[in-house]
Point group: C2
Amino acid sequence: MPSHKISELDLIKRISKKVKVDASVVCGIGDDTAVLRATKDKYQLFTADMLIEDVDFTRRAHPEDIGHKALACSLSDIAAMGGMPCYALVSLGMPKKGSVRFIDGFYAGLLRLAKKFKVSVVGGDLSLSEKIVINISVIGEVRKEGVVFRSGAKPRDILFVSGPLGGSFYGRHLTFTPRIKEAHYLVNNYKVNAMLDISDGLSLDLRRLCLASQAGAVVYEDLIPVSADAKSFDEALHMGEDFELLFSMPLAEARRLIQEKGVYFKAIGEIREKHYGIKFITKKAQEKVLEAKGYQHF
Amino acid sequence: MPSHKISELDLIKRISKKVKVDASVVCGIGDDTAVLRATKDKYQLFTADMLIEDVDFTRRAHPEDIGHKALACSLSDIAAMGGMPCYALVSLGMPKKGSVRFIDGFYAGLLRLAKKFKVSVVGGDLSLSEKIVINISVIGEVRKEGVVFRSGAKPRDILFVSGPLGGSFYGRHLTFTPRIKEAHYLVNNYKVNAMLDISDGLSLDLRRLCLASQAGAVVYEDLIPVSADAKSFDEALHMGEDFELLFSMPLAEARRLIQEKGVYFKAIGEIREKHYGIKFITKKAQEKVLEAKGYQHF
């Protein structure tokens, strides 16, 4: 197949088929992080994110913000599994020119976030590269009863997001707070059936959750919270880099969560049977197919 | 300080000073891998390596070989601690054009090596990038009694290498076998005081071992095994990408190892007191300072 016609999802499927893992791997390719058997009570989580200049950030951004974002993306993946991060490795490729100033700023931003979430930076790699390239790998952990996969959504579950969506590209994508605390609170107090973080837009990530869960879904224009940064409702549906949690839970649990005070979780729709597809109800009560127009990395 | 005047070692020191780690970290920045407390008997190892097109390989190389090398570099780091690899994450940035063919070959080479050493590939990340960029993160494990740091060398230890050196850039760097089995054999049968893998040339990596151990060393031209690929003795000293183990052990252990049949470990010199420095004895019995001319990544 010519490579410009193959989607990121197809490529990942193609790779997954070739990969064999051993019995200690609870979940490999296909969720926000890998899930590995560790102790009697806990699983280990393992995730890596690569950020590339002019794709994930530009050199006009503050080095502090680039360092913050690089770690925050991986922590967001750990949050999406209901886990807590523990250790990080930082690989950095960059030009020699300006490297001292960049590295000082980059690590200041990264280490501030690491401290906030008690992550130990335990090593990494430094290479020459024309464009700045960053890879952060994180080991985390999760109680076995607390782990949440993207594949567990069930028809009649209520769908929630952890914050308003859209407009992140205008700046918020560099400074967002990964929803570690929110996820921790959720999995310790509620039965969450499925969860992921919205990195590539609600429409695309909802599709991923539905595909993994073999389910359909409906979301309501009236209910989807739109960020003050967004220039249109479409940005809340498709723009990406929101890094909010998207999760589903049974109706009784959802009722309890909605009544809770002092937390921001917004119900936006419902999980349906697979044959229903993924739909969107407009303010005028029109039912439309929700097309996945989110950001495709590849 | 202007960045062109700062060395890789200085930059890593600068970063290390800012990093705080918690009590579960036995060893953070500064060795071949991080060492983390895990179970009663074992430590966990955690390492990442970034490879960049036109620095670590060119696009003329077979995708199979690039995939092999990318994983082999990280496995070599695990070997250098005396450990066994368990899980890997693969981050890959590349142009869309030709991606299917490249990914098929890249994963074929990578997964062949993973299978050989029972490594489970459990996930990764796929991004667009003009140049090909790869980051492999590996989790490994090591028995607590078997772990070897680069900092444990003691005066009068004998220095060994696990294979002939030099000329790797002419091709071997793409196809080398990481010394997992050799390291495993060593730490299970001998008391090894210090070890690392020669990634940047014997002269530079011996300096790293001596700096970490607060020691000096002497090596002999007559003893250093030169690869058939090498065009000069200088290449065996300085060229890099040999990925052989460099290690030291007490004299009595060394005698035992030298008498052993069917293994390739070659004594090349001795650890000395720090004030002696790092010296090199020529075939004509001249004592020279061994300058670190190995490859500096940055």
